[in-house]
């Protein structure tokens, strides 16, 4: 599918924008608006961009930014200071043969979920769709927003910035068929040069539908205040709904502070992951060489930075499956380094060889058992268990869940206990305590699922494969 982005305007309302800059190239949390738009369009294989103001430079910058990810073509217009409907009309030749295409504004930040929701139900022949947001009160700059009056049968009745009666807002994302060009021509012939004029023509023909994308993130980037608001909303968006208790109450506050600062640097999440392995290695080395307090501080710092890679990946749309995989592997490597460091600290404090090796063996075996048990719950199809058999533990878990926390010996709690124990000068007792807690926790979790069965979907799948 093709997508059309109109980027011909000057952005004159944006105070402080230098003559060389373009709104599409503004960075929001370390990623340009146009990159974020492309992040939201995984199904698009060609991007048609209409340029006008400082077209040559913009086209060169867009080539540098996007050409590796998508096929780019440009339509340059001279009358860039006229209505944006003429910009869309200029791309007619490039898009007329398409059955459907997406139309976006170069200064509208959108998230992938919005596009996914819009594309779930494509427009019929001779129809266009607009993604609308019914949360009118939630918009940042209502005065400047384009208002929409929604009618019955998912049709738009009216659209415009000056509407007095409206019940939704225009997000600036359209799912179109070439009928849009006829409507724009008709509007232009009558003196209406904006996109809204063309949409009104379609409204008059009852050919302008809408899809409700309320709850999805979108933001018009019209001013520095809009950028700040967009960054705030993006940050709220990437927060995990649930975390371990230590993470929720402490780690995330510090890791968030770090993430919001390094997101503007050319740092990739995988690099943070690798850095964190080095940090855990340093913590282990400090513990092993008797620097217990600094080792413990480094271990807790590792636990904090452990949240940064995920936050950065979510904030900059740089997450990947392979990245998540690497993060998981590195977590285990770091755990083992810290366990070895703590056991060496016990040896440094006078434990004999036999005690050291037995302690290390027990701590490692216990850690492996814990993670095998916890992860085997995930790698076993979509399990369903009778609700009545969950017991008190599940009620306790639910209580924490409702408060955005995960109850139990989560990774953040494990590292904090280890760090506090080592800093207090009791590494061996701490490891024994952790062995006991791990064993208690995984046996309790497995007892929760002793009567669990695979979901019907999984059973059907196996039956279909004749397994």
């Amino acid at each position: 599918m093709k997508a059309l982005i109109i980027a011909a305007g000057k952005g004159s309302r944006f105070n402080g924008l230098s003559s060389k800059e373009h709104k599409a190239l503004l960075e929001v949390c370390g990623r340009t608006v146009v990159e974020r738009i492309l992040d939201a369009l995984p199904q698009v294989d060609e991007l048609v961009v209409v340029t006008g103001y400082r077209a040559e430079r913009l086209e060169r910058d867009l080539q540098d930014l996007l050409a590796r990810r998508v096929r780019l073509s440009f339509v340059r217009i001279r009358d860039w200071d006229r209505g944006n409907g003429l910009s869309v009309l200029a791309a007619r030749q490039a898009l007329e043969a398409e059955e459907r295409f997406l139309l976006l504004m170069s200064d509208h930040l959108v998230e992938p979920a919005l596009i996914r929701r819009l594309c779930l139900d494509p427009p019929g022949p001779g129809e266009c769709l607009l993604a609308v947001d019914r949360d009118v009160e939630g918009v940042f700059d209502l005065e400047d927003a384009t208002k929409v009056l929604l009618g019955d049968e998912r049709r738009i009745e009216a659209i415009g910035k000056d509407l007095t009666e409206y019940n939704a807002l225009d997000t600036g994302v359209f799912y179109c068929t070439p009928v849009l060009f006829d409507a724009l021509e008709e509007a232009a012939a009558a003196g209406g040069e904006s996109l809204s004029h063309g949409i009104r023509v379609l409204c008059g023909r009852r050919a302008m539908g809408y899809r409700d994308v309320s709850g999805c993130l979108w933001q018009d980037i019209d001013s520095p205040e809009c950028v700040a608001e967009a960054e705030k909303r993006l940050w709220n968006r990437v927060q995990k709904p649930r975390d371990g208790v230590v993470s929720r109450l402490f780690n995330r506050k510090v890791s968030g502070w770090i993430t919001r600062r390094i997101c503007r640097l050319p740092v990739k999440p995988d690099q943070v992951t690798v850095f964190n392995v080095l940090l855990a290695g340093l913590a282990a080395w400090l513990m092993a060489t008797g620097h217990l307090l600094s080792g413990a501080v480094a271990a807790q710092l590792y636990s904090i930075v452990d949240g940064v890679d995920g936050e950065l990946a979510r904030l900059k749309n740089m997450g990947s499956w392979a990245g998540g995989w690497l993060d998981n592997i590195c977590d285990r490597l770091c755990d083992w380094m810290l366990i070895i460091g703590a056991a060496c600290a016990a040896r440094f404090l006078g434990a004999g060889d036999t005690f050291f090796w037995v302690l290390l063996t027990a701590a490692l075996v216990s850690n492996l058992a814990y993670w095998t048990a916890m992860d085997s719950l995930l790698v076993s199809g979509v399990l369903r268990a009778p609700a009545g058999e969950r017991g008190d533990l599940a009620e306790l878990e639910a209580w924490f869940y409702q408060r955005g926390m995960v109850f139990g010996l989560t990774h953040d709690c494990y590292i904090l206990i280890l760090a506090v124990g080592v800093a207090s000068g009791f590494p061996a007792y701490t490891l024994w305590l952790l062995i006991a807690l791990e064993t208690l926790w995984w046996t309790a979790k497995l007892s929760q699922v002793r009567n669990a069965e695979p979901s019907a979907i999984y059973v059907d799948y196996l039956a279909g494969k004749n397994v």
Binding site: R332, L368, L378, S380, V467
Partner: protein, 230 residues
């Protein structure tokens, strides 16, 4: 009334359905030549005899009738051989797996290697470097397993709960995939055993660490290349 069990799920940004499907396609294309039936495993129970042999050799060593090296080698090989059936069946019939069995298997894999190391340094008086290699071997073996688990663990939570149909396919294809689940345990245990039997225990343990890690790293390099291939 029933509930979907929660778990510690990935905090990665939601991959698109297309990414999930592309993994399914890769697994279909590269690995999956039709699901095996339960009958495919008939007869594999006889490997359990090797397990008995391993246990017997450990007992003979304990009462002083067998030297340490061959006893340890037989214990390692016997354990891996005897438990192959459990690994195979739990992979193919993924859901409804006996979780406790999986925990016991993976934990004992490491515990036996570490236990052998402990016996060698504490009872046989071998240098402590043997135990260092044994620790590295135990963690290598676990990492081979965990690197596979981590793929499914990295599936974003929203995808796992929102796309149960596709997830069922991914779970199953993944767990029954010969590409991913090669002879990892056999490689580590086998090389350790060869080292012990040939009188070069440290070389054998070291070779197991290098080969075991190289094995899973190369395997996943191939998998991620396949997933990213357009």
């Amino acid at each position: 009334m029933s509930i979907t069990l929660p778990g510690k799920m990935s905090d990665q940004p939601a991959a698109g359905t297309s990414e999930l499907r592309s993994l399914t396609d890769v697994l279909e294309r590269v690995n999956f030549a039709g699901a095996r039936s339960r009958r495919s495993f008939a007869g594999q129970g006889t490997t359990g005899l090797l397990g008995v042999l391993g246990l017997a050799s450990a007992a003979l060593y304990a009462v002083g009738y067998m030297p340490a090296e061959p006893a340890a080698a037989l214990l390692l090989v016997g354990w891996v051989a005897a438990t192959r059936l459990h690994v195979s069946t739990s992979r193919v019939f993924a859901a409804g797996t006996n979780h406790l069995g999986t925990v016991a298997l993976r934990t004992l894999d490491a515990a036996i290697l570490l236990g052998v190391g402990l016996v060698f340094i504490l009872r046989e008086g071998w240098p402590q470097t043997v135990m260092v290699w044994a620790v590295a071997d135990a963690l290598t073996g676990y990492l081979s397993y965990y690197s596979q688990v981590a793929v499914l663990k990295s599936v974003p939570a929203g995808m796992r709960t929102g796309e149960p149909g596709t997830m069922a396919a991914v779970d199953h294809l993944f767990l029954s995939s010969p590409l991913l689940w090669g002879p990892d345990r056999e490689l580590v245990a086998g090389l350790c055993a060869v080292g012990l039997l040939t009188g070069l225990p440290e070389w054998g343990l070291a070779a197991a660490v290098f080969a075991g890690n190289l094995n899973w790293i190369l395997k996943f390099r191939r998998l991620w290349r396949e997933v990213n291939r357009k």
